[in-house]
Each structure stands twice: as C-alpha cells, then as structure tokens.
C-alpha cells in the first residue's frame, strides 16, 4: 500500500472537460499538502481525438509525470484500450458501467454508473465530477478537499450549477462507500489544508514577467506559447501592460524591440515556427544593443511537426539564429520555480548587457502544472543597467570608451539624447560606417560584454553527490524526470548525480570541468534526436560524450525510462 503517493489519470474525448477536471483534482491534492505534477496530452484538433490529463501526487518533490498509472478514470472505451498497458498491476480503472463490449482482462476494473449518477445529480455534464468523488473515496481523501476545488472552479457559474456539481461529487463518493473496491493500492492520509499554488510553466513565466516589470507583451498565438498571451491579456488594464496579438511573429518581436528602445521592459513569446520568423529581428536587437526578452516554447519539429507535443529540438537554433555574430543569452528553466525566477533573470540580463535573452521552454514545462509553496523567495531585485535620466551634451549612444563594452542608453524625448539605433554597422552616434577600423572597434566593444556576462549567467546546479557511480547532464525540462529517476536508482543502491544546465549559451566551460572530470560514467540526456546539448559539451569541453539518452517521440522522459537505461549499462 502506497501512502500519499499515486498516479491518477483521466482520459476521454477532447471537449469533455478533461483538463478542467484534472486541474480540480490536482488542486485538491495540493490543498492537502501533496506535491503534484500535472501533465496533459491532447492532439492538435479542437474536438474529438483522445485527451488525457494525469496527476502525479507525492509527499515530497521531485515530482513528475510517470508512466505507471494507479488510478485511471476512463470516460470512454478508447481510454481503457490506450492506457491499459500503463496500469500498475495493483491499479484501478474507474469507468462508466454503461460502456458496452468491454472485453478487457484486468483485475482492477471498477465500473461506476457515472452517467446515471450524473443525471441524478442534475445533468450529464457533472459526470467528470462524479469521477472525482469516486477517486476521493477510493483514495480515502477528505471529500472537503475536492469540494473546495470544485467550488472555486464553479463559483462563477451560479449557485445551481455549483450545487449540481457538488452533489455529483458526493454521490460518486457515496457510491464507493457502498461498493468498496476489491483492493486499494494507494491511500492519502492527509487531512489538513495547506497553502500551495498550482501553476503551469507558462503561468510562471507570465507571472515572473509581470513581477519583473513587463510593460508590453507582443505575440502571435502558437502552441505551446499561447497560454502566456491568454494569461496576460486579461491583466493588461490591471497592470498597465500593453498586450498585443500582432499580425505575425515578425511584428511581435519588432514591436517589442521598438518598445524597449523607448525604454520599457517588453517581451515576445512563441514556439519554433514563430521563432524562425523572428530570426532576422533578433540580430537587429543585437547590433542596436536593444534589450529584448523572448520566450521560446519548443514543440517537436521540423516545421509544423507535432504542435501539441514536446521536444527540445530548437536548442542549437536559438543559439545560432540570425545572420552574423552577436551576443545573446539562452536560459533553460527545468521547472516552474526556475521558470518564474529565470524570466526575471532574463529581464535583468537583457537590460544590463543590452542584448537579447531567450528563455527556452518546451511544451512539457510550459503546459504541465506543478505545485509550489511560495514564489517570493524567487524574486530578484531589478537591474536596469546603464539608463540615463539626464543626458549630457555630445552624448554618444555607442561610446567606445566604456571599459565593459556597455554604453549608456538614452530615451526619447530626453534632451541631448538623440542617436540612431542602426541595423547597419555604425559609429558612436549610431550613424552608418563601413570603415574597417571602426567596424572592428564596434564589434570588439559589443563582444567585450561577453567576459562580464560569463561570470553573471546562472551556473549549472549539481544534484546529488559529487562522487557518484553515474553522472547525468542535461538542461531544461528533463530536470524533474531525472531527479525522480535518481531517487528510484538510489533505492536500488545506484548513486547518480545530475548537473542541471540553466544557461547553455554562452557556455561557460569552467562551470562544467569539475563535474565532467569526476564523472565515472557520463550520460547526456535530451529530448531530441541529434543530442544537441551533447554537441555543445563536446565543442566546449574537449570531451567525447559517449552516452546520450535521447527521446524524440513527442513525449517527455518518464523516470522509468531513465532508470532502465541507467540500469542496463552504457
């Protein structure tokens, strides 16, 4: 019997409200102090097609999406067929007793007359909530936790609807009391309500951006970045943030650059396809030394690829996008805390060094949600860099004499501050030049910032002991699966550590040498085909990455897969 740990999944047709139900359940768990990680799968279509939402709940972090299901709520037959092979042998499948022609051989089948109960409670539409009541009873969870979340979710729908739904929960719960399952493999023994947030990576990014002083957000919808837009748009009046759905991604990035030139913190977000369209303007931010923050939420490519799935295939692209050479920083958060924190870091670094900063996420991080206790300790003081309030006479925007390569910014309409932000190579005022020596000086000035940046970017974080049997290295959203796998392996007596890269570019070799040198067996783990991060390690560390654990089927890593790979040897 597992206490306070289980993997719950609900599946059905798109449009059946699966995401809403899943989140209600996840919040109920979090309210009881459980740590949750919620992962959804859905196809790139609006209705029909199989959707599912899974909640992994545990006493402690790290928590992540796992393959083996303890409780499956199947709203249709397809769900059972698709996920039967994921069931734990002790698991329970909750489904509607009216499902026909079910010839499935599985011990833990637990039919419930869900539709019937729903109709009794006030309408078919409450069916999902019946399943929540059933789940609570099976897990022996306090019903109050579910009721609270349901109440929050339906409070704006009117008294009647709310009542209906609460009734459905209760009826589901009571049904189990009267018809207890043959066995239970997991139980929740928490009773107290605690303060916990549940949010997606994109929500964390949006929140962090607001906190960082975002004043203009420009974007063109693209999965899995769109929810940042959806989150920010209703807040534009409250926070005085201009939120614009522009005509395309080209316009989005340029609008953000224009706004930044005029002095405010701005951002644009997109996925790989939209980022392709932003490539040209990225270099313009580079040469004009305009701060810029871009969030790029990856999905599997190439091209349109698999719009609603996950991959880490754009790493090299964001590092090298746009013609010519300029400094940019890539930050790769691995969970929501890092997302919230690193977007703030992005704004600071962008302004401090007057460069573009790209926060690289993926569908797994952007759209999965996670529990978190508090955000406050992740906040950062603002570093706004060299901004002039009063501009001296003979002001030079691209002053070559600055030692750190960072010259002072002036903003319209400050008297004396006139200058040209020029996409052409330019002199200290920004006016065009094609002269050989000045060109070299300007390039050198811009590049000089690199030295300072290298000591200012987030360092990789080591999880586990320096001396371990096995060493994993990766970036971004592989973090949770890896950390969870490490726990499993520890139980088996295999010690594994993990170096979590938060800034793959500019790559700072010094931060990796020790780890790499002391690794007995080094495995680079990435959600892509080529092993792009491994390539970066090879390029910069003068090593050969002999083992790469790669995955490119659109799904995130599940801890089991990592465990299996590590166990079976390189």
């Amino acid at each position: 019997m597992k206490i306070n740990e289980f993997n719950w999944k609900i599946g059905g047709e798109a449009g059946e409200g699966i995401m809403v139900t899943g989140l209600i359940f996840a919040k109920s768990c979090a309210k009881l102090g459980l740590e949750v990680f919620n992962y959804a799968e859905y196809p790139s279509r609006i209705r029909g097609g199989h959707n599912c939402y899974q909640v992994k709940a545990q006493d402690k972090k790290p928590v992540t999406a796992e393959k083996e299901i303890d409780i499956l709520v199947a709203l249709n037959k397809e769900t059972i067929e698709l996920h039967l092979n994921e069931m734990s042998s002790e698991g329970i499948i909750i489904y509607d007793s009216n499902l026909k022609d079910l010839s499935i051989n599985f011990e833990g089948l637990y039919p419930v007359p869900m539709e019937e109960i729903a109709l009794k409670s006030g309408g078919k539409i409450t069916k999902n909530n019946v399943s929540l009541g059933v789940t609570a009873a099976i897990l022996d969870m306090p019903l109050d936790a579910i009721n609270l979340s349901v109440t929050k979710a339906f409070k704006d729908k009117g008294e009647k609807v709310l009542h209906m739904n609460l009734l459905a929960v209760k009826e589901g719960y009571d049904f189990v009391q009267q018809n207890p399952p043959k066995k239970r493999s997991c139980i929740v023994n928490k009773k107290e309500f605690l303060k916990k947030y549940v949010m997606t990576g994109n929500e964390a990014i949006a929140l962090g951006a607001i906190k960082a002083g975002l004043k203009l957000y420009a974007a063109y919808p693209m999965t899995p970045a769109s929810s940042i837009l959806h989150f920010l748009a209703p807040l534009e009046r409250k926070y005085r943030i201009v939120v614009k759905h522009t005509e395309d991604e080209i316009s989005a990035i340029l609008t953000a650059i224009g706004a930044s030139y005029a002095g405010i913190r701005s951002m644009a977000a997109t996925s790989g396809g939209g980022f392709s369209l932003m490539a040209e303007a990225l270099g313009m931010a580079g040469i004009t030394e305009t701060p810029l923050v871009i969030a790029e939420c990856m999905r599997p490519g190439p091209s349109t690829g698999m719009p609603t799935w996950t991959e880490q295939g754009d790493l090299r692209f964001v590092i090298h996008a746009s013609q010519g050479e300029f400094i940019r920083i890539i930050l790769t958060p691995g969970d929501i805390a890092e997302a919230y924190h690193l977007i703030q870091v992005s704004f600071n670094l962008a302004e401090k060094y007057q460069i573009p900063v790209i926060l690289l996420s993926d569908k797994f991080l952007s759209e999965s949600s996670e529990s978190i206790d508090d955000l406050k300790q992740l906040d950062l003081p603002k570093e706004r860099g060299k901004r002039l309030k009063e501009v001296p006479q003979n002001y030079k925007r691209y002053d070559l004499s600055v030692e750190d390569g960072i010259s002072w910014r002036a903003f319209p309409p400050s008297p004396n501050g006139m200058h040209l932000a020029n996409s052409d190579e330019h002199d200290e005022y920004g006016l065009v030049t094609e002269e050989s020596e000045l060109r070299v000086k300007m390039v050198n000035k811009r590049m000089k910032r690199l030295e300072h940046i290298k000591s200012d970017v987030p360092k990789p974080v080591l999880y586990g002991d320096v001396k371990s049997d096995i060493s994993l290295i990766g970036f971004g959203s592989v973090k949770n699966p890896v950390l969870r796998a490490i726990e499993y392996l520890k139980k088996e007596g295999i010690s594994v550590n993990y170096l979590h890269c938060l800034c793959p570019h500019p790559f700072v070799p010094e931060n990796y040498y020790e780890f790499v040198k002391s690794a007995k067996r080094l495995i680079c783990i990435e959600n892509n085909f080529f092993g792009q991060f491994a390539g970066i390690l090879q390029e910069n560390l003068n090593i050969r990455i002999k083992e790469k654990l790669l995955k490119y089927d659109g799904r995130p890593f599940f801890p089991d897969e990592i465990v299996d790979y590590v166990r079976k040897g390189g």
């Binding site: 919040k27 109920s28 768990c29 979090a30 979340s149 916990k196 947030y197 549940v198 929140l207 607001i210 960082a212 002083g213 203009l216 807040l235 534009e236 009046r237 409250k238 926070y239 005085r240 943030i241 201009v242 005509e247 080209i250 316009s251 989005a252 340029l254 609008t255 953000a256 650059i257 224009g258 706004a259 930044s260 030139y261 005029a262 002095g263 405010i264 701005s266 303007a281 313009m284 529990s371 955000l375 603002k382 903003f411 319209p412 309409p413 400050s414 008297p415 004396n416 501050g417 006139m418 200058h419 040209l420 932000a421 020029n422 996409s423 052409d424 005022y429 920004g430 006016l431 065009v432």
Partner: protein, 286 residues
C-alpha cells in the same frame, strides 16, 4: 523653401545628385520647424533602402530598422510612450513589397503615427529592380522583359484598410509636401503620405519632367477629403493627371486611445520597482 540645418547630422546625404529623397529631407525639416519641434521631440523609424539612408542625415531619435519593418517598430515605440511624435518612413519596396502586410494591418489600427512612403517605383539601393509600384511593362534588372503584374495602389489600400489621413505628396513640391507632413503630424491617427519621389538613376521615366506637368493639387479642386467614395475614385487616377494633396481624412478613435490601459501617462514613466502579484497568484492557489 527654407532649410533648417539644426536637424542635420554631421553626415552629408549620400543620395545621387537630383534624387527625390532630398526633397523629402527638406520637407521634413521644414515641417519640424513649422511645428516648433526640437530634435529630441521627434522619434523616427526608417527602413532599409535609399529612403532608409535618410536615417543618417536627420538629427532626431532614430531607429534604422530592417527592410520592410518600420511600422511594427514604430508601433512599439508609440505604445511605450504615446506622448512621442512618431514618424515612420519606408521605400516602396520596403513598405509595399516585403512590408505590405504590416502596412495594411497598421492602417486597421489607426495608431497615431505619420508614415511617409518614398515612392520612387523602383528598388534604388539594390541598384534598380522592379518594385510593387513599378508600372506594368517596366523593364528592370529583375524584369528585363517587363513587369507582368499590376502595381499596388498604396493610396487606395490605405483608405480601404482604415487609415484616417491619406495623402500624396511630391518631392518636387517641397512646401506642399512639408504642409502635408505638418497636417499629417497634427492629425490624430494613422496618417499615410505616399510621396512621388523621382529616382534619377534607376527610374528616369518617373522624373521631375514626367511629374511636373501632371501633378495637380486636390485642394485646388472641389474634392472633399471626407468623401470616401470620391477619394477611392481619385486614388485610381494616375495618368495625364496625378492628384497630390489629401485624398481622405476622417476622425476615429486612435489605437492609443482604445488601449485603455495607456491612459494619460506613458508606460515609459511607470515605476516598476514594486509590483505586487499577490492578487493574481491567488487565483492559482490550490
């Protein structure tokens, strides 16, 4: 025409002698002077092309952006600080070729920016290829057998798409052009000024000699700029007679006004030190 060198940078214009861009340069300086603007009161966005080289010759807050993309940059600037006087300029290839989409979408928005198209009907800086306003049959480096598409009509497109001030100027009539710029800048909303700009090097058929006898001023006619239908009809006129002046002018809420969040004070003056997100994260509480 007078000149106001206070708006000059240290660089001398690099345009070919006789280029129509000089007329636009002078007209802008005259307009700025007439409006009593200091250098720092003007923020201007430029594209890439001979037109864009103007960025080096005007001492204002400038942004020499990339080819075809002046309008989104200008929009970002205006939204960040809607108290600024924002102008944008483009070449015809720049603004009506590669950048055509932004043009129409910006017209829809009616943002308070004055947009000047240096319409020389050719790609100047890349040494003479066809442009979207080159006439059918135009032979150029990229179309040695003549252009086979119809030209775009920036005036008609602007009117149809929602610009609230649509005019045509002519580099050969600097005072008139300056007055259009003044009116465009005073106008609240998106003001589009398509400028007939001779390119003496690559498009000699649209020379001063071609335009001079043909242009006539709309203000000398009975045309009422509020008359939408007649404005469109006039926009189609481009033969022996070529109208210059204001084709269309109307009032409509501007984009900045419609962005309620902007209110009075520019965003750029907001203090961002202490932003509280308590309220919204409460929605994310379990």
């Amino acid at each position: 025409m007078k000149d106001y060198p206070v708006y000059n940078t240290y660089q001398t214009p690099s345009w070919c002698p006789g280029c129509g861009n000089f007329g636009i340069w002078y007209a802008l300086k005259n307009a700025f002077h007439e409006l009593g603007l200091n250098n720092h009161d003007i923020t201007m966005v430029f594209g890439i092309g001979c037109s864009g080289n103007l960025s080096n010759f005007l001492k204002v807050y400038g942004f020499h952006s990339i080819h075809g993309r002046t309008l989104p940059v200008a929009t970002g600037i205006k939204l960040a600080n809607h108290k600024l006087n924002v102008l944008a300029t483009s070449g015809d290839g720049d603004g009506l070729g590669i950048g055509l989409g932004h043009f129409i979408h910006t017209c829809r928005r009616n943002i308070d920016i004055t947009y000047i198209i240096h319409d020389n009907r050719v790609y100047g800086l890349t040494t003479g290829q066809t442009s979207p306003t080159s006439p059918k049959g135009f032979s150029s480096k990229s179309t040695p057998f003549g252009v086979i598409e119809l030209p775009v009509n920036p005036v008609a497109l602007a009117i149809i798409s929602g610009a609230t001030f649509v005019a045509r100027g002519y580099s050969g009539e600097i005072d008139h052009l300056a007055s259009l710029i003044v009116q465009g800048m005073k106008h609240k909303g998106f003001s589009v000024i398509d400028v007939l700009q001779p390119c003496v090097t690559f498009n000699p058929s649209y020379s001063y000699a071609f335009y001079n006898p043909r242009v006539y001023k709309l203000e000398d006619t009975a045309h009422n700029p509020q008359d939408y239908e007649n404005a469109i009809k006039l926009a189609m006129e481009f033969n022996d007679k070529i109208p210059i002046g204001i084709f269309y002018k109307t009032e409509r809420e501007t984009y900045e006004q419609a962005c309620i969040e902007l209110g009075e004070n520019p965003l750029s003056e907001d203090d961002i030190e202490n932003i509280s997100i308590e309220d919204i994260i409460d929605d994310l509480l379990a």
